[in-house]
């Protein structure tokens, strides 16, 4: 969905969409639910979409208001019998009829909708990933108050879909790690019109979001670029341009230690860092895995490289990316940035 598209009609109640409900149920119930989910999994294939909601895949149970309504009707029936009151019988039976029809209406409000995915925008690890889902109503009757939510989460939003129209809804999930984040199973549900029944179906669309590594905090500036021929550049430190930090090694000049950075670190785990400088070079900037201090973990390197990609992109420079088995030739622009970040995400 492009940023200029109108927002869908949706609404967020209760909890934040990404927070899963804690399961306080007894172990027996939890085990039963697990088995239920296994069974659901056999009935819910992972499909690329569009996925028409077939009536045999729509499940329906009474809500607590539905049970309350049943209790109300039972009370009214007893009253009608006790008073032999025909009009009380009539109202009770009318409401019973409405309740039974509401079951069909709730079911029919969901059946034959079609669920499809749209392109998923990448996100950085730790940020929410938004999976845009299209709900298509091909019938000549509008559908009301359709909810989309991850399995085991409360319904956070409702959307109306006019006759022969569609609506877009975003399912949000917090990304934790870089790489592909597949969309998990979600429910399409409704309690419309009367809230007495909860009808739902499970959908598992074969879509995934690309999660870029979480960028390192800004600060360390980009090292001077290396040569396109793969020549190492990080091992030629000079006094001219700050290119980054590496761990302190015996023999390093005292003046090259990053004293300010050291002061910012917690005293127990303080590791002195050495500032590295390189000569400025004309042309493309190379962001190289190997310029980073050898003691750094791969993830830390990826985080730093991600930061540098973002910085270089923000400064509008031409830059290339060099990873142990992957090279992105220098370039610039949105597509190049994505290519570099994707390489980092999938490293």
């Amino acid at each position: 969905m492009s940023p200029s598209a109108p927002m869908p009609r949706w609404w967020r109640p209760r909890s934040s969409p990404a927070s899963p409900c804690p399961d306080h149920r007894p172990p027996v119930i939890r085990a039963l639910r697990r088995r239920l989910h296994d069974w659901i999994a056999t009935r819910t294939p992972r499909v690329p979409g569009p996925w028409p909601i077939h009536r045999r895949r729509v499940y329906i149970v009474p809500t607590r208001y539905g049970y309350g309504y049943g209790l109300l009707l039972f009370t009214m029936l007893l009253g009608a019998m006790n008073y032999s009151n025909s009009m009380a019988f009539a109202l009770t039976f009318l409401l019973a009829g409405i309740g039974l029809l509401a079951m069909h209406d709730t079911h029919g409000n969901l059946v034959n909708l079609s669920i499809a995915a749209k392109a998923v925008a990448p996100a950085f690890a730790g940020d929410p990933v938004r999976f845009p889902i299209r709900i298509v109503n091909g019938s000549a009757h509008p559908r009301y108050a359709i909810s989309l939510h991850w399995q085991d989460e409360a319904a956070p939003m409702q959307v109306d879909i006019a006759a022969v129209d569609e609506a877009a809804v975003e399912l949000v999930r917090l990304s934790e790690r870089r790489g592909w984040l597949p969309a998990s199973r979600f429910a399409v549900s409704t309690e419309f019109p009367l809230g007495l029944f909860h009808a739902w179906t499970w959908v598992e669309l074969d879509i995934a979001a690309l999660v870029y590594p979480q960028p390192a905090p800004p600060g360390a500036s980009i090292p001077p670029g290396g040569h396109g021929d793969g020549q190492r550049s990080g091992d030629q430190p000079g006094p001219e341009e700050f290119v980054g930090l590496r761990g302190h090694q015996p023999g390093d000049a005292l003046r090259s230690i990053d004293w300010k950075g050291l002061a910012r670190q917690p005293p127990q785990s303080a590791q002195p860092q050495v500032k590295q400088f390189a000569e400025p070079r004309a042309g493309a900037l190379w962001l190289d895995w190997r310029t980073l201090p050898p003691g750094w973990s791969p993830e830390r390197r990826l985080a730093q490289l991600t930061r540098w990609v973002l910085d270089a992109d923000a400064e509008g420079r031409r830059y290339g990316l060099r990873l142990p088995r992957t090279i992105r030739e220098p370039g610039c622009g949105e597509a190049h940035r994505h290519a570099c970040l994707a390489a980092l995400a999938l490293f």
């Binding site: 009253g79 009539a90 039976f93 409401l95 409405i98 409000n109 009301y144 109306d160």
Partner: protein
Amino acid sequence: MARSDNLPPARLTRTVLLRLLAVQALVLAPHLPRLPLWAAGLVAVILLWRTAAALRGWPLLPGWMRVLLTIGAFAGIYASFGRVSGQTAGVALITVMAALKLTELNSRRDLMVMVFLSYFLLVTHFLFSQELWTAAYLMLSATLITALLIDANHAGGVLPARVVTVMAGGMVLRALPLMALIFVLFPRIPGPIWGLPADAGAARSGLSDSMAPGEIAELVGSDAIAFRVRFDGAVPPPGERYWRGPTFLRFDGRSWDGGSRAGLVDAPAAELRGIGYRYELTLEPTRTPWLFALDLPARLGLPEGAVINADHQLVLARGEVRERRRYRLQSHPDYRLQPALPAPLRALATALPKAANPRAQALARQWRVEATSDAAIVERALRMFREQPFHYTLSPPMLGRDPVDGFLFETRRGFCEHYASSFAVLMRAAGIPARVVTGYQGGERNTIGDYWIVRQSDAHAWTEVWLADRGWLRIDPTAAVAPARVERGIGSALDDAELPDFLNPALRNGYRFDLRARWDWLNARWNHWVLGYGPELQSEFLRRFGIDEWREMILALTGLLTVLLAGFGLLLIRRSTPRPVDDAPSRAWRRLQRRLARAGLPQAVHEGPADYAARVASARPDLAATIADAARRYIAVRYLDADSDGDLKALRAAIARVRP
């Protein structure tokens, strides 16, 4: 696409709140006249205040004030009724509490509670009234409450009132066949399950268990129905249409009542002669034990629970008539009642307060001296009423300390109770056992349904005197003064100025009278088939369909419900099925498909337009250029948002050029 609505979830919007208040007003309004004045006022004030608060954004009441109001309402109901349960007090309590709930109402959850409460308030209304119009009220209220329930379940913004009302109305209409089915087939059980509160059923109406001057005249203003009668075959002439009610033996100088009948509880001997009239009577509830019957009911085949009492009045052995009651009877107008009068009864039937009405007593004693027989005295008294200027009127002048003296010798203007009372006093003073009988006289024929309606306005009082060999003989002194009263009904016997409109003979013709008859007929059918649909009528009705007992009822109910619901389900599935795309480019393309199919080149299901065009081009090289052009244009117009009129015309032209 719909506009964006980011509402706070739990709060009600003002629109929905106002809709709720309107529905509450509809549901609470019929209860107001039955509430004590303070409670009705409180409910009305809360409704108005809450509406104003919603419109003006006033703050709601603080919690302690709501608690105080609730406690106060409880105390008030207890003070007004002496209890908080039972039909009237219980419903009053629910009504006030529903109104009080409005003061704290603010969230969607409250709305659900209010909707359920509204359904319940609606059903309590029928404890008090089940007339025909309440069916329309039921439909309207059920629709609007259901519309509110739909509102409560549409969190993402308020739907237009028309949309929810149409939706709810559609649900109610579709639920009607289900309702009818369950109504007919749900097995009814007789009687109350846990007993009725003492105040259940209709209010007391009609004749009372005593008679003072002016009391019956009050009933004449009421066109309420006392009972309806359907005769099997012959209908008694007007002069024999006396519907016997309570009999009064004791006179205190002014009013009559039953008095004590110690030792006189057995039904008197009655000798019935001639052919009887057989009829079915549908009695409206009176909250009395009296079952009215044409003079004089036969003792055989009495309705269930009914007995004949010492006055030969048909009454319930136990309890009161709280619901409409239908019974069959046979009556014989030619009878001899209690030919042997027990001495204690003779004493009671001739007792008079010594000091009261001295002039009447003196006159009667003089008649006694002059007369040769009791019958002659009776005739003498009737002649007096006939010959002296007595006047039959609904609004007699006030009477003083001795009402019988005042009536007989001064005002001479009175209603039936004056004539019956003074005649009985004269007879007793002359030593003839006499008593006052109240009931109804006459009735109006409904030509639509061929039955007779007896209204409260037909209430009447007459006398019975006991003559040796004859037993109790009905004497109606009013007939001596105003024969038209008995022959043609009260409307003919009174001056027009005194008559309520519904009795005015001048207004008893034409379409209004006809409409009234039709309306009553409809009500009678309603009473019979809907309100009277209990265990007996149900088994009688269902037997026609071969359904004999409750298991078969359940089976038929389940089967038919399943069929109906499956039908609705199928309808809904069909409604929800996506429509085939039917826009102008698709129609044009289908034309091309048909044409090529006739040429032996149908488009396969899996084939898109481009693949299809390629296949056609290779099969028919002569069409290659035109089909490629048509397909390109079709794809552009149908899929690439190039849907201007010019493009569409070009597409049609391109398709027309493909000529296999």
